[in-house]
């Protein structure tokens, strides 16, 4: 896990220094416990019992255990991309699907690999494959992302971020 101090002192990764195929350092989370799952349910007031009531999950819903929340997973991916982009890049967008279930005891490895790089309006864009792999290598949240990293001696990435018109699909 990343510490507060590491995030405070993080050095900028530049667009110039990243090649297609580059794999960013993964974020490993886990093993997850029922308490982690319950904490998330309480934080967002998601009272679906399959996430914290083990007897309900197993005996009523026929599940192998209580389940990790898709909403938690979809909060972790943007957090990971944010960390990659700090301090001055921008985690523009991420899309993903929910696949394999996660249950207590699982450890997740959040990852990203560069599939394409291109410049637009003087900004450096990286397309990524992203995901969250379980400890037995099953992918539980495959997706795509686009981030923007500063170009050395290039212009600052605007904040609030305004995507180049050419890259806006709708």
């Amino acid at each position: 896990m990343t510490t507060a101090q590491e995030l405070k002192e993080k050095k900028q990764t530049y667009y110039d220094d990243i090649a297609v195929g580059h794999q960013f350092s993964p974020l490993v989370i886990g093993p997850l416990t029922p308490t982690h799952l319950f904490r998330w349910s309480a934080a967002i007031e998601n009272w679906h019992r399959i996430h914290y009531d083990q007897s309900f999950a197993i005996y009523h819903e026929g599940l192998p255990n209580i389940l990790g929340q898709g909403s938690w997973k979809q909060s972790i991916l943007p957090r990971y991309l944010k960390d990659i982009c700090l301090p001055d890049g921008w985690p523009w967008k991420v899309s993903f699907q929910h696949r394999a279930m996660i249950v207590p005891g699982d450890t997740l490895t959040v990852w990203a690999a560069v599939t394409k790089k291109y410049e637009e309006e003087g900004l450096g864009f990286l397309d990524l494959d992203v995901g969250m792999r379980l400890q037995y290598d099953t992918e539980t949240c495959p997706g795509k992302a686009t981030i923007v990293l500063p170009i050395r001696k290039g212009k600052a990435i605007p904040y609030p971020f305004v995507p180049p018109k050419k890259l806006v699909s709708r």
Binding site: A42, I76, R79, P160
Partner: protein
């Protein structure tokens, strides 16, 4: 014998097509006091993100954001909380159904800011994936507004010939200055 509800005629009926583009009412997702520290602390600890940009004022002032920010998609969750003064939805749900799954009876899918139901006989709902687009981090004190619409509905035919709908909703989150913070596109399979 029950007929498969998804075989035969197209599920993409004129009534279903009619909801494409329909927008819900724009509502305030945050409480009237806006984004506050304690809710932010609870949320960031639940995603195990110790980033000092969420809690260290002195450091946050030195960043390009100029102050405390929230995680990228925090604003998409704050509208799900029970508002002060509302009837307790948990007590109500279990009073109505002691075997409630914790979802039924708590969120009805109706109400302020909600989209009308898709007029289809396809009742089973599966998550088909989401896209999150970020423009700006919410800040402490920001008031968050949201507006949802049906962005698209497509029909797909499964391997077994059954018909299903892919329903994509788009929710735009803005702050008190009407600046876009985040756009959430969520797709559901209805079958």
């Amino acid at each position: 014998m029950s007929q498969s509800p998804s075989s035969g005629e197209s599920a993409l009926t004129p009534a279903v097509k009619g909801v494409i583009g329909v927008q819900a009412e724009r509502i305030e997702a945050s409480f009237q006091w806006g984004i506050e520290r304690e809710g932010l602390r609870i949320f960031t600890q639940a995603i195990m993100d110790p980033d000092p940009r969420y809690w260290d004022d002195n450091f946050a002032k030195t960043t390009k954001f100029g102050g405390i920010i929230t995680p990228p998609i925090y604003c998409t969750y704050i509208g799900r909380r029970t508002r002060p003064g509302d009837d307790d939805p948990v007590t109500r749900a279990f009073a109505e159904n002691p075997h409630s799954d914790g979802i039924g009876g708590i969120r009805t899918g109706e109400g302020k800011g909600k989209l009308p139901l898709v007029p289809t006989h396809l009742k089973r709902i599966l998550n088909a994936g989401n896209e999150i687009e970020l423009r700006q981090y919410p800040k402490l004190g920001d008031r968050i507004f949201s507006q949802a619409k049906y962005a698209d509905i497509k029909e797909r035919v499964g391997k077994d010939g059954s018909r299903m709908l892919i329903v994509t909703t788009e929710t735009i989150y803005t702050n008190q200055n009407d600046e876009v913070l985040c756009i959430l596109r969520a797709s559901q399979i209805r079958r």
